[in-house]
Amino acid sequence: MTMENSSLTFEQAMEKLEKVVGKLEQGDVPLEEAIAMFQEGMKLSKFCHERLQQVDKQMAQVLTEDGEIVPFRVAEENTE
């Protein structure tokens, strides 16, 4: 499952998580399945959580006329 999850996108993981939660909340899952789903759900939530923490804050860029991508600094309001 871990294998599988690692190739999931964040959206897929969230979707799976929601489904798992939904099913568990319906309460009609056999107990053995429920604990497995709980484990799966916890893994998914961990996965999603990590995905959101992974990257540092990105800087805005600009595509110049030359086709280069350079950092872009937003003009301050004050300059206008």
Binding site: L17, G27, L31, H49, L52, Q58, A75
Partner: protein
């Protein structure tokens, strides 16, 4: 001839019908100058439309002028759309204005309407063509002017909401004659780079002319052909451009576009935590439910008081055993009761009673027998004694007691007459206490005296 006069009303009505039926006079656009403008207190507008060589009365009812974005004035050049008709009471024809625009930009409106109709027919606005905006994009292309509030609003909003996303600005001209090609080119470029998940195309607010590039067909086509989902963000909320119609998602402002393009990371985190919590809660609840259910079962009467299973049966058994005993004893009792009853009856028919009765009977009969024989004997004896006494009374010998006597001759015959006993014969005289043997000496005849005899017959002798 004289009969063919029309009434004025008929004539007027004919004229009205004629004008109303003429399509070239209905739903037409007219370019004119306003004069004699009057705003009626009830909201209707009355004015004259004129040009250098003609004029016509016009009216715009409140229902139509309510959405006008400007206030008409005398001398103002306007484009009006409406119908020509006749006001019958005055016999005047006039123009009924439905829509009015200031002239000058009026041409742009016409172009806008024309293009909108055309693209709509071509299917550019079709909902089925709209692409899904990715919920969490990694790369965002922003196509707008590098200066101005729009780009700043977009970038800061995106970075604030979702810092993990890459923003790439594709700077374009957003007004002036070069704007449309510039925008169309940037859209194409963004598609060529192939790394963007979504693009925001737009600019800040401005006049219709300033926003015009976004009403150009070239831009519409570029948006339409973009494989990357496009969020349009042109001007303010009230400005609706062709680009807005074509775009996959229309944002009312650039800031709104940024908000639509990326999710709020805090919200996302919150939602993950929330799901995690729900997960745990669901599991806890499930466990709790099952535990409770199990507890309930384990604490059930049957398990808590298993002896009850037996107790009932113990009692049933007791009842039955008791019944067997009771019924058997009852049967015995009944039988013994019956026997006792029979014994009493046997006692009653004891032969000693019978014997006693029979003895009494014999004794009684015996007595009766004795009594009967005695009676019989006594009867006969009494009868005999009675007869005997009677006989004795009747005895002829009784007369002798009174002095009479019987005289018997020698032949022992009774001597009744003198001659029955001859003289010298012996006679026997029978007296009461004996006999006298007498010799007859003599005889005398005579009669027995009459009269007194019979009376003294009883006691005389």
């Amino acid at each position: 001839m004289g009969q063919d006069y029309l009434s004025v009303t008929d004539l007027t009505r004919k004229i009205k019908r004629l004008i109303d039926g003429e399509t070239g006079l209905q739903n037409i656009w007219i370019r004119a100058e306003i004069s004699n403008y009057k705003y009626h207190s009830r909201g209707h507008m009355y004015f004259t439309l004129k040009d250098e060589s003609a004029r016509i009365n016009a009216v715009m009812f409140a229902g139509n002028n309510r959405f006008l974005k400007f206030r008409p004035e005398n001398g103002m050049n306007v484009l009006v759309r409406g119908d020509t008709s006749v006001y019958e009471p005055h016999g005047v024809y006039q123009f009924y204005v439905k829509e009015m625009q200031p002239d000058g930009i009026g041409s742009l409106y016409l172009a806008y309407e024309e293009l909108k109709k055309k693209l709509e027919i071509a299917g550019f606005f079709s909902a089925t063509r709209k692409k899904q905006i990715p919920p969490i994009p990694k790369e965002i292309a922003v196509i707008t002017s590098p200066t101005g509030a729009a780009v700043r609003d977009i970038i800061t909003t995106v970075q604030r909401r979702f810092p993990l996303v890459n923003i790439t600005l594709l700077p374009v001209l957003v007004q002036g004659p070069e704007a449309a090609p510039s925008i169309a080119q940037a859209i194409a470029n963004a598609n060529a780079i192939k790394k963007f998940d979504v693009m925001i195309v737009g600019r800040g607010g401005g006049s219709l002319e300033e926003l015009w590039a976004f009403n150009e067909q070239i831009v519409a086509e570029a948006i339409y052909e973009s494989r990357i989902p496009v969020i349009s963000a042109v001007g303010h909320e009230t400005d609706v451009t062709i680009s807005d119609f074509v775009a996959d998602l229309r944002a009312p402002t650039p800031t709104a576009a940024a908000e639509l393009a990326v999710p709020d990371i805090l919200e996302l985190r919150k939602s993950i935590i929330e799901r995690k919590l729900r997960l745990q809660r669901a599991m806890h609840q499930r466990l709790a439910v099952e535990k409770e259910r199990l507890n309930f079962l384990a604490k059930s009467y049957a398990f808590r008081y298993p002896k009850q299973l037996i107790d009932q049966k113990e009692q049933d058994l007791d009842r039955l055993v008791e019944a067997v005993r009771r019924e058997t004893f009852r049967i015995l009792e009944r039988k013994s009761g019956k026997l006792t009853e029979l014994l009493a009856r046997v006692e009653r028919v004891h032969p000693k009673h019978r014997l006693h009765d029979e003895k009494m009977r014999v004794s009684k009969v015996n007595k009766a027998l004795s009594r009967a024989i005695k009676q019989t004997y006594d009867n006969q004896e009494n009868k005999f004694v009675f007869l005997l006494s009677k006989l004795e009374v009747l005895s002829p010998l009784n007369m002798m007691k009174r002095g009479y006597s019987l005289v018997y001759g020698e032949q022992e015959q009774i001597v009744k007459q003198v001659d029955d006993a001859p003289v010298e014969t012996t006679v026997t005289i029978q007296l009461q206490d004996g006999q006298l043997l007498c010799l007859v000496q003599d005889k005398t005849y005579g009669e027995l005296p009459n009269g007194n005899w019979s009376d003294g017959n009883d006691d005389g002798k």
